[in-house]
Structure formats: C-alpha cells, structure tokens
C-alpha cells in the first residue's frame, strides 16, 4: 500500500503592495503629473533670478514709477537707468477691464440664448462657431482688428466722446482716437467672448431641471424662470468665467501690440490714443534691448506672470465651487 504524498502548495502570500512594474508605472506617471508644478516653479524662479538685479535696484518703484529709460556709454556700460511699470500695469488693467465690461453682458446673453432659446440645430452650429473662434490665432485678431475693426471703433469712440464726454473716463483734451485702450479693449473683448460664453453655458446648463420645471408649472415666463432659477444658480460661475477672461486678456500680447499705442505715462482716459501693456512692452523693447534692459523685461514678465496666475487661480476656485469648470 503506497500512500501518495499529498502536496499542498503553500498559499500565496496576499500583499497589498504593488508589483515592481506597477511601482515603476506609478513613479513615471506621478513624475509626469508633477511636471506642471515643476514648470510653473521654474518659470517663477528663472524670471525672478534674471530680474532680481533690476527689482532690487528699483525696489517698489518698479511698479509705482512709469519712466523706462536706459543710457549707456560707448563700451556698453550702463550709466543710468530707470525702469518703472506703473503706466504699463495701469494700461493692462484698463484694457482688460474694458474687455470684460463689454464681453460679459454679450457672453451671458448668448449663453442664455444657447441654453434656453435656440433650437437644437442652431445651438450645434453656434457652439461650433464659438469654439472655432476660441481656436483662432491671436495674430489674426490683431491684424483684423487693426485693418477692419479699428475704423468702426474709432467712430464709436467719437460718439462716446461727444455724448458722454462729461464722464471723466470718456473725456480727453486732444482728439486722438487711433490705437487707444478702447480699441484694444474691444479687440480683447472679441477674443474673450468665446471663453466666457462657454464657461457660462456650462454653468447654466447645470441649473437644476426640477426647479426650472417647477417655475414653468407655476406659470412663469421664460425670463421669470431665468431670473428665479438660472441666475441665482449661475451667478458666481459667470463671475469666475469673467475672471478667466480677464486673465486671458491681461496676458494677450500680439493682438494688443498691433492695436495699441504704447506711451510711458499713466493714462486713465480710455478713448485717448495712448496706452500701456506689460506684454506689449516686452515685444516692443525686446528687439534692441541691451543685456541689462533684458533683465528689466524679465522682471516685467515675472510681474505679468504673477498677476495672471493670481487672477486665474481666483477664477478657477470660483468656477470649481459652482460646478465642473468649462474649458
């Protein structure tokens, strides 16, 4: 009688630790994911490092003064330099505020139209067109704005000046309408309308359906429904979208450079053809800048970077708290 030896295989140890291939995979993916952190950090570090000398020399004057001059001797040594961004910062903020003020009502109306008024086929076409506009290169807006739009906008500016000139911001001493912050603001508004529209549309489409139907059931007109349900639900989302647009408008370079006259003097009169813009300043001065002036431009870039970063961060927080963000 032979006993067959019963071999019981040892039970496999159950572990929660991932295998080596998975560890590698997780490491690689995490590394890729952290690259955005690395890039943003490096941008701040390098621009800060290059611009440090100028920032230290100018101190707070870098954002409160508005002269931009540098004189060198024949050997290229810097004799005297003044760098101040005040006029450029004021100009950047003025242009982007004009853009947002024009763009927000139009975008909100068209988002409402897309969500609650347009029939299905029209909605599809309009969304395609709006998305397409968001993909247009900025140089296209710039050249189109300069050659096609600017004559009309100058005419509107004249009307504004004639009939609303008593309001300080529409007032001006010298009638120069060409390449004013107002023109730049209009071009920028056209560029940011698609963004604000698609964010608002996204937020409006998440308005609770039961409340919409409840409003209709109580006999509300469409506007009464929108006022009672959609606007309270979407208000902060629209503000977030507007700030996203503001951030985009602040960083826009080529389109603004084409339609704006850069002057190193703080100017709040939006119809006067003298404005400022940090991004355009960089393009304007880069071509023939000495190494020391380049450092000042890097510092200007750092300021612009931080400004747009803060605006975008606030915008994203607002959009996120009201729902899934749009594009």
């Amino acid at each position: 009688m032979s006993t067959t030896e019963l071999v019981i295989p040892a039970p496999r140890e159950i572990v929660t630790e991932p295998r080596r291939s998975d560890k590698v995979f997780r490491g690689v993916v995490t590394g890729g994911g952290l690259s955005s952190l690395a890039i943003l950090g490096l941008i701040a570090i390098f621009l800060g490092y290059r611009g440090f000398e100028v920032l230290r020399q100018e101190g707070i004057g870098f954002i409160t003064h508005s002269d931009w001059s540098i004189s060198t001797d024949d050997a290229g040594n810097v004799l005297d330099s003044h760098f101040g961004l005040a006029a450029m910062l004021v100009g950047t903020i003025l242009c982007s505020l004009i853009a947002v003020v024009i763009a927000v009502p139009i975008s909100v109306f068209s988002a409402l139209f897309l969500n609650f008024y347009a029939p299905g086929w029209l909605k599809k076409i309009l969304i395609t067109i709006i998305d397409m506009m968001a993909a247009f290169p900025s140089i296209l807006f710039g050249i189109w704005g300069f050659l096609v739009l600017m004559p009309s906008v100058e005419y509107w500016a004249k009307l504004l000046h004639r009939y609303l000139g008593f309001i300080p911001i529409f007032d001006m001493q010298v009638p120069v309408y060409t390449r004013s912050p107002f023109v730049a603001g209009v071009v920028l508004s056209i560029m940011i309308i698609p963004i604000i529209t698609s964010v608002s549309r996204e937020i409006f489409s998440q308005a609770p359906l039961d409340r919409i139907q409840a409003a209709y059931a109580l006999g509300a007109t469409r506007w009464a429904m929108i006022k009672a349900v959609v606007i309270p639900h979407g208000r902060s989302g629209v503000i977030g979208g507007a700030m996203l647009g503001l951030g985009r408008a602040m960083g826009e370079t080529v389109a603004v450079f084409t339609v704006l006259n850069i002057v190193f003097q703080v100017n709040w009169q939006m119809l006067l053809g003298a404005g400022g813009n940090v991004a355009s300043l960089i393009i304007l001065k880069f071509g023939d800048a000495s190494p020391y002036e380049i450092k000042a431009l890097m510092a200007a870039g750092l300021i612009l970077f931080l400004l747009t970063l803060v605006v975008n961060a606030i915008a994203n927080l607002i959009v996120k708290t009201t729902g899934k963000s749009g594009r």
Partner: protein, 345 residues
C-alpha cells in the same frame, strides 16, 4: 365622434401677421433712423433695426398681455442680439481673410522661400515654403515633447488619484492661463541665454510645449474620465497589474479621444506668435535643422510682412493668415470629427 387633434399652442395666422408687421415696421424705422440721424454705415442699420424690433415687440406684448410678458419679450430680443453679436466677428474675420488672402495665394507661394526676396517685393517673388516647413517642424517637435507629459498628467489625475490630484489639477489649470509671452521669456532666461546662446526652432518648440501641455492634459483627463470603470475592473479581475490594465485596456479604449486632445493642443499653438518672435530668430530660408540656425514660421512671416507695411507686404500677410487659418480650421475640424465619438470600440 372622433375628436380632431388640435395644436392650441401653435402660432395662429393672426400671430404670424402681427410678427411680420412688427418686423416690417422695425425695418422701416431703422431706415428712417439712419436717414434722419447722423448715424451711418451697415452697422447703424443693424443696431437701429434690433433696437426698434426690441422696442416694438416689448410694447406690443405689454399692451397685449401685460408687464411680465413685456419683460419676457425684451429679454427674448436681448439674448438673440447677444448671440448675433457673438457670431458677427467670426463671420467678419473669416470673410476678410478669404477676401484679402486669396489674391495673394498662388502656386509659387508654396514652392519658394523668402531667401531671395523681401516682403515689399511683388508677389511673384518669393513664397512661404520656409514658413510652412518651419511651422510644421515646430508643431512636430512640440508634439513629441508635450504629448507624453500631457497624457501622463491626465493619467495621474484619472488612474492614480494620489495625494497630489487636487493640487495638480489646480496647477494644470493655472498653467493654461500662463501668457504665451511669459513662456517665451522663461525659455529665453532658462535655456537660450545661459546654454545655447543662439536662436533656433527648438527653443520655439520648447516654449510651445509649455503652452500645449495644459490643453492636452485637460482634454485627455475629460476623455479618460469617460472610460467606464467596468473596463478597469475587468482588467484587474483578469489578473492584470495596473500598468497592464492602463496600457492594454484604458488607453486603447480612449484612443480617438486622446487623438482629439492632441489635435486641439496643436491647434492651440499653431498660430502662437509672441514666443516665436522671441525665440526662433525667424530665418527667410528653408531650414530643416531645428537645432541650428534661425527658423521661419507662419506667424513670424505674417508679423514681418505686416510690419513692412507696403500693399504687397500686407497682401503677403493676409495670404499667410489664410494659410494659417486653413491649417487651424483643418486641425479643428479633424478634432471635432474624431471627438464626435470620444470612446472608440
């Protein structure tokens, strides 16, 4: 008796007649307004017509049904105006580009570069071959660098969901708002000045990569989120490691959506001008080597021609814009077409 179906909500003949007469009335008054006031131009007709239409419908509804209906009618016309105003610039831009760009398009344009011509020469001299090859090279290089990083970021956000998910999603969004000129300055300060000290196509491609990563990452994340979790569970149940599941199941399932994401990223950077102006040097000759020597590109060509200012140069700029817009629209349409079916079988 069989009741005949009726549609009491449908517009009656009387309603249609009223609508039609309001339309005609506002058309008439827009002509009168433009005739009587100093307003001028096509746009003035347009504005007057819509204002008149809004006022007439509001007044009519107010008389017919009362205050609430009047407000509703007013908002009705306002939102329609909003949508039209949104679309007008797009139409105007496309029409202008076609109208002004077509005279500058010739076969010669795609055959020669600008090495023996200046922007102010007659249109028969020189072309934009160098610009097209340059733009394609820049796009290809940016693609090679940004696709892995973008998709890895999206995978981290959807598959690993680790400790950093929240911060990374936030940072990617912040990164999509980085102005293009800042990306250019960054490459300038971090690589061009300290290391290579020379303009080249590769520098331009690096800055474009920074601008492209967030678009790819965010669109890919949306696509990967659409992949049903059952697929991942099935992969794990078959004994696959996470790596095998992602590589063999999740990514192939999301393939066409990922392609859409990549194309949208390319469309985003195709016309990017500011960093190109800072970094590539903008040569006038076909330059196949992105690592050595200045490289031309469509935005640079357009910029240079536009700034030259003579009528020939402006026509050149419009022709370049037409080619660039054609390229962007082609990419955009392809992305739309593929995006219509986000998850392939």
């Amino acid at each position: 008796m069989i009741p005949t179906p009726t549609k009491p909500w449908a517009a009656s003949t009387k309603d249609r007649a009223v609508d039609g007469s309001i339309f005609a009335l506002s058309l008439l008054s827009s002509y009168l307004l433009v005739f009587l006031t100093p307003l001028k131009g096509k746009l003035a007709y347009f504005v007057c017509f819509f204002l008149a239409y809004a006022i007439f419908t509001t007044a009519f509804k107010g008389v017919q049904r009362g205050n609430a209906a009047a407000k509703d009618a007013l908002v009705n016309s306002l939102v329609a105006i909003g949508a039209i105003v949104t679309v007008i610039p797009a139409a105007s831009i496309l029409l202008t580009v076609l109208q002004k760009g077509l005279p500058g398009i010739s076969f010669n344009l795609f055959k020669t570069d600008m090495s023996l011509a200046t922007p102010t020469d007659p249109l028969t001299n020189g072309g934009l071959l160098h610009a097209i090859t340059g733009t394609l090279t820049l796009m290809l290089l940016a693609l090679i660098m940004s696709v892995p990083i973008g998709i890895l970021t999206a995978l981290y956000l959807t598959e690993i969901k680790g400790r950093f998910t929240g911060p990374i999603r936030f940072l990617v969004q912040a990164m999509s708002g980085v102005p293009s000129i800042v990306a250019g300055l960054f490459i300038l300060s971090a690589i061009l000045y300290p290391i290579t000290k020379a303009y080249s196509g590769f520098m331009g491609a690096l800055s474009l990569t920074i601008l492209m990563i967030p678009t790819i990452a965010r669109t890919s994340e949306e696509v990967l989120n659409l992949i049903p979790n059952e697929l991942r569970e099935a992969g794990t149940a078959l004994g696959g490691t996470q790596w095998r599941t992602v590589a063999m199941i999740v990514l192939p399932a999301a393939r066409s959506g990922l392609v859409t994401a990549v194309i949208l990223g390319v469309a985003r950077i195709a016309g990017e001008t500011a960093p190109i102006l800072l970094l590539t040097g903008g040569g006038d000759k076909v330059n196949p080597n992105a690592f050595n020597g200045p490289m031309g590109s469509l935005p640079y060509y357009i910029w240079k021609s536009f700034n030259a200012g003579s009528p020939e140069a402006i026509t050149r700029a419009w022709a370049g814009l037409l080619v660039l817009v054609g390229l962007v629209l082609f990419l955009f349409t392809t992305a739309r077409f593929l995006g219509a079916r986000k998850v392939s079988k």
